[in-house]
Amino acid sequence: MLGTILFYTFSVLTVGSAILTITRRNVVMSAVWLIASLLGVAGLFLLQGAEFLFVAQLILYIGGVVLLILIALMLVSAQQPTETKRFRKGWPLVLAVGLLLGGELIFVFTRAALPAATAAAQVSGANTESVADTLFAHYLAAFEVASVILLVAIIGAVVMGQRREEHQA
């Protein structure tokens, strides 16, 4: 019963905050609602027994990505004249197509015959332990490639972000 209440709470938090994120006029308020939405997703992870991803979501997304967005916002948006129009031209058509897509997805999901749940083969230990076992036993190559991607992203961000004085005309 508690799980049910928590599920609906986190779902409403996730989707409602996501809608507020894309509709706020003030970009800082969008970032704040993005935090609430990511918190809801973290709660859904916890309800599905993914404790490690719950903590990773809190630290990586809320501590890392949203903070980065807010810092970029300070560099860009302070000098920006206030946005008069939030949405692009022709937004009613886009909204209609988006709602059609949502309706279609929900229609398919509610009629889908999912395979029956598989019981756990053996009593596994803590979630963090089993995720680490899977990651390092089966996906070691992907793990290494992810570290290369992060390195490339660091170098790319530094190169893109630096000021080039000699090319100023």
Binding site: A50, L60, A72, E83, V94
Partner: protein, 102 residues
């Protein structure tokens, strides 16, 4: 209230996906577009975790970790590009960046 099964999580994920897609397509501010991309990647992660839980395997959670790593890289590079763009063009509104449009 119905006890939530995997379908309920999938519906939440679909709603989050649609919200993120609408954010990418509708908004003019590039920072909000980046936030919407984060919402889309989160909806994918919900799906992966739900099926990982359904089948009592940790593979889906390992995939979700990979998605997170790529999402963080994307945010860092995207924001650096955005700052470079603002320095060169003086705007971050998507429909004013029409240099490549004919």
């Amino acid at each position: 209230m119905i006890t939530p099964g995997p379908i309920h999580y999938l519906v939440v994920s679909a709603l989050l996906l649609v919200t993120g897609t609408l954010g990418v397509l509708l908004r003019r501010n590039l920072i909000v577009i980046l936030m919407s991309i984060e919402l889309i990647l989160n909806s994918v992660n919900i799906n992966l975790v739900v099926f990982s839980h359904l089948h009592s395997q940790e593979n889906g959670q390992a995939f979700a970790l990979m998605v997170m790593a790529v999402a963080v890289s994307e945010a860092a590079v995207g924001l650096a590009l955005l700052i470079a763009l603002y320095r060169n063009r003086g705007t971050i509104l998507a429909d004013e960046l029409d240099l490549l449009k004919w």
